[in-house]
């Protein structure tokens, strides 16, 4: 026998999944939403996404000084997610600075993939909102023009449905579900997002507790405190679920593995916390939308949640506290 044996501690077989395959699955899951964005907002949305993804990968490769710019795919995911929470046609420099902040202060400063505390894409968005709020707050949102791929969408702008009651009543639930409303590039189409999330769920990459808790609380709080202006309490709750970034946030941002709790109970707490803070900001804050801040805040308390939700081991007895 010439070749030496490989010897390792058991187990000796491993699943074929890798970090890269997980990230590719996330990219696949984002495809419906990306496609929908192009269909709704035209070529400018595509350009925004390309700038964001390419910059993200380049910045990460430069920081880590490596040639393989796709690598584990996490930078591409961050780049695409960041594009999803931008307006469809922001200035190019805004995208570049935002996504570079996302990669550097959102991720690499903490030691790169696996160690970041906050969702990088949302850090990028928070930086952009705070720096150039003029592009993201107010009546600055492009009206979608379905299938007009070459249209200049920046011509007509409006507020998002969350801008006020008037804007809210101007959109139907169907349009909210399909995504034919003004808003961030990737957040408008609930349909596309659900399709993508179904893929992630099928592949076992997301746990329903987080989106369940998040969306559930948004619905309940929307129904109770929303004022029922949208044709009754329950439909107002539904409106809050479908409008704005709740779907994108709950299905893709709050389920980001690195920055959320690992325990089952912790995931539920995380989702509920996101829902509560989102609705607090929407209902009582000065900002129209609170998903970004809600998730970032819950990211911050994730280590604490993890510490307090260590599950009972098999056959273990709860110690009387």
């Amino acid at each position: 026998m010439d070749n030496k044996m490989v010897v390792s501690s058991s187990p000796h077989i491993r699943s074929l999944e890798s970090v890269q395959s997980v990230m590719i699955d996330v990219l696949i899951a984002l495809f419906p939403a990306a496609l929908m964005a192009v269909l709704l907002f035209g070529y400018k949305a595509l350009i925004t996404m390309i700038i964001s993804v390419v910059t993200a990968m380049l910045v990460e490769a430069l920081w880590l000084r490596k040639r393989d710019i796709f690598s584990d795919g996490s930078a591409a995911v961050t780049g695409l997610l960041f594009a999803m929470v931008l307006p469809p046609a922001p200035p190019w420099w805004l995208v570049v600075v935002g996504v570079a902040s996302a990669i550097i202060i959102g991720k690499q400063v903490f030691g790169g993939i696996g160690y970041n505390i906050f969702n990088p894409a949302l850090v990028g968005r928070a930086v952009v909102v705070m720096s150039w709020g003029g592009y993201l707050v107010g009546r600055v949102w492009s009206q979608p023009q379905p299938f007009a791929l070459t249209a200049d969408i920046s011509a007509i702008t409006t507020a998002t449905p969350l801008g006020g009651q008037e804007e809210a009543l101007a959109v139907s639930l169907t349009n909210l579900f399909i995504g034919n409303v003004a808003g961030c590039l990737g957040e408008t189409s609930t349909l596309a997002l659900l399709l993508g999330a179904a893929w992630l769920y099928y592949k076992g990459h997301i746990d329903l507790r987080i989106p369940g808790g998040f969306i559930g609380v948004v619905f309940i709080m929307g129904a109770i405190f929303g004022g029922g202006f949208y044709g009754g309490a329950l439909t107002t709750g539904l409106f809050h679920v479908l409008a704005g970034g709740v779907m994108l946030g709950a299905l893709f941002m709050a389920t980001d593995m690195v920055t959320t709790p690992v325990t089952a109970k912790g995931k539920l707490i995380f989702g509920i916390g996101c829902g509560i803070i989102t609705m607090m900001i929407r209902l009582w804050g000065t900002l129209p939308e609170g998903v970004t801040f809600a998730i970032l805040l819950m990211n911050a308390v994730t280590p604490i949640i993890d510490n307090f939700t260590v599950p009972q081991q098999f056959g273990g007895v709860k110690k009387s506290a």
């Binding site: 030496k4 044996m5 490989v6 010897v7 390792s8 501690s9």
Partner: protein, 284 residues
């Protein structure tokens, strides 16, 4: 009037404050020794633990109480020892700042492996796993526990699978030596002179020569040739007493596997890589 008020107010507050402190002083009979602070100031503050105490502050307390020696701080070297001794009015003991030395030249090209290890990248773990993947059960496993232990960035894992010490950066704290599960790294007094047997294997000659091209085979050629009787065999390994060594170099000439080197001529990483290139060219 205002001035009187001001003086009165401050005076009253001052009085109260003094009172509190008077009480406090009573309760704090065991105040910290100012000398502890002074000693702490002189320490490098790396909290490396090389002195055997939990940190610089802890060491400072121990020095002042007489528990530890003034030259206990290894990274600080002579300068620190002198300063502390000055503070405490003590004599400086002789302290030669040591340097970490790697006692193995069996790089990955001159030794063989029993199997390919796949698992936790840690020397201790790998070494405990079926006795280590190296045929030589005393040789360097190359996972760099020493590198991880060094606080001063003074030790690197070379491409040839052996640690490389940057003697200029090495402070002689000995953390790497403690971290090595196979005690391949030893702390020696600084210097270029004197010869060393760069092997760590206590195996019998036969199994050493099977495992490594350059291991000490315990042939005793060096022991016989040494005019100063500075070399002794310790459990199948030749050991040179640096204090007795007169730098004649006869042992190095006689050593059949060429394990003995003068301290300033220890084989380098570059030499090892060149050797590897030569070897692969030969076999090709």
């Amino acid at each position: 009037m205002l001035i009187i008020y001001a003086i009165a107010a401050l005076g009253v507050i001052g009085l109260l404050f003094g009172l509190f402190l008077g009480v406090a002083a009573r309760f704090f009979a065991v105040d910290t020794d100012p000398r502890v602070e002074a000693v702490k100031e002189e320490l490098p503050g790396a909290n490396c633990g090389a002195c055997g105490y939990a940190g610089c502050a802890n060491f400072a307390e121990a020095v002042v109480s007489g528990e530890a020696k003034v030259n206990g701080c290894i990274p600080g070297g002579d300068e620190t020892s002198k300063a502390i001794a000055g503070l405490l009015g003590q004599e400086v003991g002789s302290s030669v700042q040591p340097v970490a030395t790697v006692f193995c030249i069996g790089d990955s090209f001159k030794t063989s492996d029993k199997f390919i290890y796949d698992g936790v990248a840690d020397c201790e773990v790998a070494g405990n796993f079926l006795g280590g993947f190296k045929t030589c059960s005393y040789g360097c496993l190359g996972y760099g526990n020493c590198v991880k232990a060094c606080l001063f960035d003074a030790i690197k894992m070379g491409e040839h699978g052996l640690p490389v010490v940057d003697t200029e950066k090495c402070t002689g704290c000995g953390l790497c030596a403690n971290a090595c599960p196979r005690t391949i790294i030893k702390m020696l007094p600084r210097g270029d002179s004197g010869y060393l047997v760069l092997c760590n294997s206590h195996d019998r000659g036969k199994s050493v020569s099977k495992a490594c091209e350059v291991g000490c085979i315990a042939c005793k050629a060096c022991v016989k040739v040494c005019p100063e009787e500075a070399i002794v065999m310790e459990d199948n390994l030749a050991v040179i007493d640096l204090e007795k060594c007169t730098d004649c170099g006869k042992c190095a000439e006689k050593c059949p596997p060429v394990t003995i080197y003068r301290r300033n001529a220890i084989p380098t990483e570059a030499q090892a890589l060149a050797y590897a290139a030569e070897k692969s060219a030969e076999s090709a």
